[in-house]
Symmetry: C2
Subunit: 342 residues, 2 copies
Amino acid sequence: MMKKLAMGIDIGGTNTAFGLVDEDGNVIAESKISTDKYKFYDDYKPYIEALASAMKELIAAQEACELIGIGVGAPNANIHSGKIETPANLWRFEDCDDPRPDNIRIFDFVGDLSRYFAGVNVMITNDANAAAIGEMVFGNARGMKDFVMITLGTGLGSGIVSNGEMIYGHDGFAGEFGHIAVDSRQTGRQCGCGRRGCLEAYVSATGIKRTAFELMATMTCESSLRGIPFEKFEAKMLSEAAAKNDPIALEAFERTGRTLGLALADLMAITSPEAIILFGGLAYSGDLIMKPTFRYMEENMMSVFKGKVKLLMSGIQDKNVAILGGAALIWKKHLETVMENY
Amino acid sequence: MMKKLAMGIDIGGTNTAFGLVDEDGNVIAESKISTDKYKFYDDYKPYIEALASAMKELIAAQEACELIGIGVGAPNANIHSGKIETPANLWRFEDCDDPRPDNIRIFDFVGDLSRYFAGVNVMITNDANAAAIGEMVFGNARGMKDFVMITLGTGLGSGIVSNGEMIYGHDGFAGEFGHIAVDSRQTGRQCGCGRRGCLEAYVSATGIKRTAFELMATMTCESSLRGIPFEKFEAKMLSEAAAKNDPIALEAFERTGRTLGLALADLMAITSPEAIILFGGLAYSGDLIMKPTFRYMEENMMSVFKGKVKLLMSGIQDKNVAILGGAALIWKKHLETVMENY
């Protein structure tokens, strides 16, 4: 019998990673091409060609395998349309780097890649949703019907699963939990989405950095962080400083956990998940972020929900989650089809 | 052929209404018993007996009908357990009217009613979820897979449907949108749930009344509302005053719509529904509440969602929604079973 494998693809701003994943979540083989080399609008078609060619090479190197599908995680991807819609950092117009409303760019990724893989099922969704499906198929959400995945990277992404299904919403763009208001829409922090007061402007690698700089202005204590300019500052410096009891770093984690905990208490009231799973750079800081988040969440939720929800770290954090997420999209579909025909 | 009918039951604090509903949402026959007569904990068993007896009477009066199930909408009802858990205004302990945490009362409604109707499917859910299912089966959400029902009564209830399924959450208590924070948990308005700053303390019949009294303190203008004491004040007086251009009434609707619109803009980011449907007393005030709600929602949502969502009035508002909601729970299940066996 031929070994069934799903191809998972993760489109990042720097690289596009892809790999063949078996039913148990093992990445059998993987490779990558540069995304950055194809950064402008006119590079999109050559990019697809290069990607398809590299994928075919990887598949050809396998012995006796059957490709059951290709699953893709990408920013601004829509599962309903199969398209990537106006991604901020991909295939920009050469004369306009600013993602303004009139800077609309639509890429029919599923349609274009499918041309190179006749008869193969190709699916795409945004990266946070792909991570959630990866967690459901291969990680800590196995067997769960209701959970929330929060990805804490440069921004804050989310994938919300209810009744065993991803919530994509009517238009395919649901799960933008990073863009609920946690501060005034008039006076809160500016967000990359063009508004103010969004959760991700406070809770993300960028958000906690902004909080640290606010605290340097507010507090008078000594701190090793005061020697680092904003441009050079990375969120992981806060974990390192907090390990040495730096008061600004500790307070930055406390405030970030407070803001996230309060927001999650509200999310509990809406979808009442079994677990909330944190993933990404900021989640790596462990107890520093998990403890205050859990405490403020529990303190502020409606009493009917108290003591019920688990706050977990991702179970695929250390693995190649980006590739696993895309592949899980295919495996989930495949297993459902098998079950239906059983 | 016998006519298939579903029994819908609505348990309110004053009355329990019930009726037989056909596939098209026609209430063929209906009746009610007093709930208020059975207000204490020890009255629960006699209440079930009286209800079952009255239901049997109604069924017996029909010619050639088949009862396909009994669906119930009740406060604090849990579809997973079939139980009504510590309802504030039903079957209280005689010596303690205060719904404190230690005042836990659990009623196995589905189990207890089923004893009188052997072999009949009995289902229960909370009233807002029942209203949402009523809207999906018989009202303005027919054919929609993703929508949100907001019920504006004494409080604010919600039923959220994604992928064609009600979001009940892991514990069955999801959809408490009335209890997200729209103001400080420390200094916001007190809410019936024991916390502060909840949406329903601002947006509900009670919430808009509280806003009107706040405005009487803030504004100096003349208003016919200034002659009415708090205890005698009803939300519908605001619609009447607004129709006469009373400045306090108009501002109360503006602020209520603003608070609701901002909250709905955030809900859009989470579940991205096709429509948001308003139901209940405050929704009857029509444009007074719909217009500011829609305007603030659109102004404050993430640009990817703008111009996509419909804000609708309930399509079963004028009908016996309480009975229809319960019956719809049964009809939805029945039609799904028919489809599966097709």
